[in-house]
């Protein structure tokens, strides 16, 4: 059986705990592969370019069998590839970013505006080319937002500096009265050159950079990076390390869901919710700080294993903390669900129907709240998830209320998983140092973070990083937010935005 129709060469499996293949294609096969992914009900996870080994463009698709990394080599004289945005709308911004960083363009794409380049570097400077040195700032770009015309339509520009403790980005609302006709986002303000920075770091130290792509997902990124590196090195991690990594991933999920549930209550006018959940989150972070040495769990996942362990008493204490947290969250859920004023704000706000979610590729927890039952932990359970049978939280309403419900259910399930893991931690070493191979190798990490699937594609050559591409689920979900707010009132935007809680830094790189 062929993995994907329309490919002449056979995809090669990469060593990894989840099913991943790599295949090199021709220009013709590039489009054929995309179409057969659609026909097979698959989806696009990421699109990026590389100048590591000549120019190439790559796409990561997920089909039933797993993930397939499709790479199309491009001639330096004409680095152009067939547009994918007409097939996968989410590809649009990724293609624009690829053009900004590498000068590799999608032919026939409708939107060719720069995305990452606001003017920090000149148009002819290509930051990810191997020879790119330092550069002076370029001319600031007067970004052409799409204009909405008509009687009584006006624009509200918001950002990049927002009115709160939030990351920077620009939102351009076109409104009539209070009603949003259109929202257009402009991101890239926190672009700080992470992918170039990767190529300046030793592979065995770059997990620290991966853990700072999006601070709220530090575990997921460090995990995905280490998975990619271990895949490239053909290194298997010790059993206890695999269990502890899953533990860290679930601890991070709980921390973020607690924070979001409080903030969502607050954005709907229930300050009580924020006080309660921020208290629970603080108690959780203190526990993590005490048990693992870092409140946000940064740098606990390292190449070849983990740099954290729990002894028996600490494990028992953490399990008891889970018990009491579960009781508290359940009580607060009852209050949230029984609070008419809160539900009035939550229900029907920022609705994304399952059909729209499918068309635009909504992913992660927001996707699950719109009927898309995708969760790597359930779809391709790797050790120890294969022993834990994680349950998936889904909902079909696709509104703020659904995204709140999914968070509540995932919190409960993560607390169950944490206790299961604590009860069956195997004994073994914590780390096996990967041996960096000579020559060229590649590896890919694919991980279900709390927000959705995180991907890291890594190319090594003689012990150095030639290219490291990191993908955040926010890439898929930011464009869907533009649709979610249509027809809602402006004052509901913060609530709707929070219900997605997307990463700026993870997207901007």
């Amino acid at each position: 059986m062929t993995l994907l129709e329309g490919l002449r060469s056979t995809p090669a499996p990469l060593p990894a705990p989840v099913p991943i293949w790599h295949v090199e294609v021709t220009g013709e096969e590039w489009l054929a592969a995309a179409r057969s992914v659609v026909a097979a009900g698959g989806r696009l996870v990421a699109l990026w370019g590389s100048a590591a080994d000549g120019l190439s463009v790559a796409a990561a698709y997920v089909i039933h069998a797993g993930l397939i990394w499709v790479e199309l080599p491009l001639p330096a004289s004409a680095p152009v590839y067939p547009d994918l945005a007409s097939i996968f709308p989410a590809a649009g911004r990724m293609q624009r970013a690829t053009a900004d960083l590498l000068g590799i363009c999608a032919s026939g794409s409708v939107d060719q505006r720069p995305w990452f380049r606001h003017g920090a570097w000149p148009a002819d400077y290509l930051p990810l080319h191997p020879g790119a040195g330092a550069c002076e700032a370029g001319e600031s770009i007067d970004y052409p937002f799409v204009k909405v015309a008509g009687d009584g339509v006006h624009e509200i520009p918001v950002g990049p500096v927002h009115a709160g403790i939030i990351e920077p980005g620009h939102f351009r609302f076109s409104v009539v009265g209070e009603k949003v006709l259109r929202l257009e986002e402009r991101l890239g303000y926190t672009h700080k050159g992470i992918e170039r920075r990767f190529t300046q770091l030793p592979p065995l130290e770059a997990h620290r950079l991966a853990g700072r792509i999006s601070g709220d997902s530090t575990v997921a990124y460090a995990f995905a990076y280490c998975m990619a590196l271990e895949s490239a090195c053909g290194c298997a991690i010790p059993e206890r390390a695999a269990w502890l990594r899953a533990l860290l991933l679930e601890l991070e999920r709980v921390a973020n869901h607690l924070g979001d549930l409080g903030a969502l209550g607050n954005d709907a006018g229930l300050a009580f919710g924020l006080a309660q959940f921020s208290r629970l989150r603080e108690e959780w972070l203190r526990r993590l700080g005490e048990d693992f040495g870092h409140r946000l769990l940064m740098d606990r996942i390292v190449p070849g294993g983990v740099a954290a362990d729990l002894d028996g008493p600490a494990a028992a204490r953490l399990a008891r903390h889970c018990d009491s947290l579960e009781r508290e969250v359940r009580a607060l859920r009852d209050i949230y669900e029984g609070h008419a004023g809160l539900q009035d704000r939550f229900i029907a706000a920022g609705r994304v129907t399952p059909a729209l979610a499918g068309r635009l590729g909504l992913t992660g927890l927001a996707g699950r709240a719109s009927g898309h039952a995708i969760d790597l932990r359930c779809d391709h359970p790797w050790p120890p998830y294969d022993r834990l049978a994680p349950g998936m939280a889904t909902h079909r309403n696709g509104d703020v209320a659904a995204r709140v419900t999914v968070r509540f259910e995932e919190t409960q399930e993560s607390l169950r998983l944490i206790r299961e893991i604590l009860g069956s931690l195997p004994n073994s070493a914590l780390r096996r140092e990967p041996q960096l191979p000579r020559g060229k190798t590649r590896g890919l990490g694919w991980m279900e973070g709390w927000r959705g699937e995180v991907l890291v594609a890594l190319e090594l050559e003689d012990g150095a990083i030639r290219r490291c591409h990191c993908h955040d689920p926010s890439w898929q979900n930011w464009p869907v937010l533009e649709h979610a707010v249509i027809g809602n009132i402006v004052p509901d935007f913060p609530l709707i935005n929070k219900s997605f809680n997307l990463s700026y830094s993870g997207h901007d790189l």
């Binding site: 920090a120 990351e167 303000y189 926190t190 700080k192 999006s214 009580f272 006080a275 208290r279």
Partner: protein
């Protein structure tokens, strides 16, 4: 409503009693509270600006408002506009794309215009350093009065930093 009141009553005031563990940081936070009140009397307003951070520092800045640290309960408030602010808390390596916005925020802030750089990246560029898209430390873009290192600094360190700066200005 009754259930909410019941839960509030059950929860009690978390800012006061010592927690079952780590009494030291808790007592420390109470001491910092008292000192802040003594210095400020009434109020300090802070505008937080993310100039390119990974959002880790933002998570810990949020935490200073939780019931355990309760900074806002002391009249030290985070405000929505630099025009209302006494102090800027700036995080990140400053991305080139945020440099202009940060300069404008600084220009819009009235005296005393205190600036605190929060986090290793804000202090020295951190792991991102300087590059084609990053200006590095906050002080490379606007004048900085005080630096709070850490990746990210925990809430108590953030509070301690604010206090230390105020003490030196008082």
């Amino acid at each position: 409503m009754l259930r909410i009141l019941k839960r509030i009553a059950q929860t009690g005031i978390r800012t006061e009693p010592a927690p079952p563990r780590a009494d030291l940081p808790h007592e420390e936070s109470l001491r910092i509270h008292r000192e802040l009140l003594a210095i400020l009397g009434d109020a300090l307003t802070i505008r937080q600006v993310d100039a390119g951070s990974c959002n880790g520092c933002e998570l810990e800045i949020h935490a200073v408002n939780n019931p355990y640290y309760n900074l806002e309960g002391l009249g030290i408030r985070f405000v929505a506009s630099p025009r209302h602010a006494d102090m800027l808390l700036v995080t990140g390596p400053v991305s080139r794309h945020m440099a202009e916005a940060l300069r404008r925020v600084y220009a819009a802030t009235p005296e005393p215009k205190l600036v605190v750089a929060v986090g290793d990246c804000g202090c020295d560029g951190g792991i991102f350093g300087e590059g084609y898209a990053s200006c590095g430390r906050v002080a490379n873009v606007i004048p900085v009065d005080f630096e709070i290192p850490g990746c990210p600094p925990p809430p108590l360190e953030i509070m301690r930093g604010i206090l230390t700066l105020l003490r030196s200005k008082a």
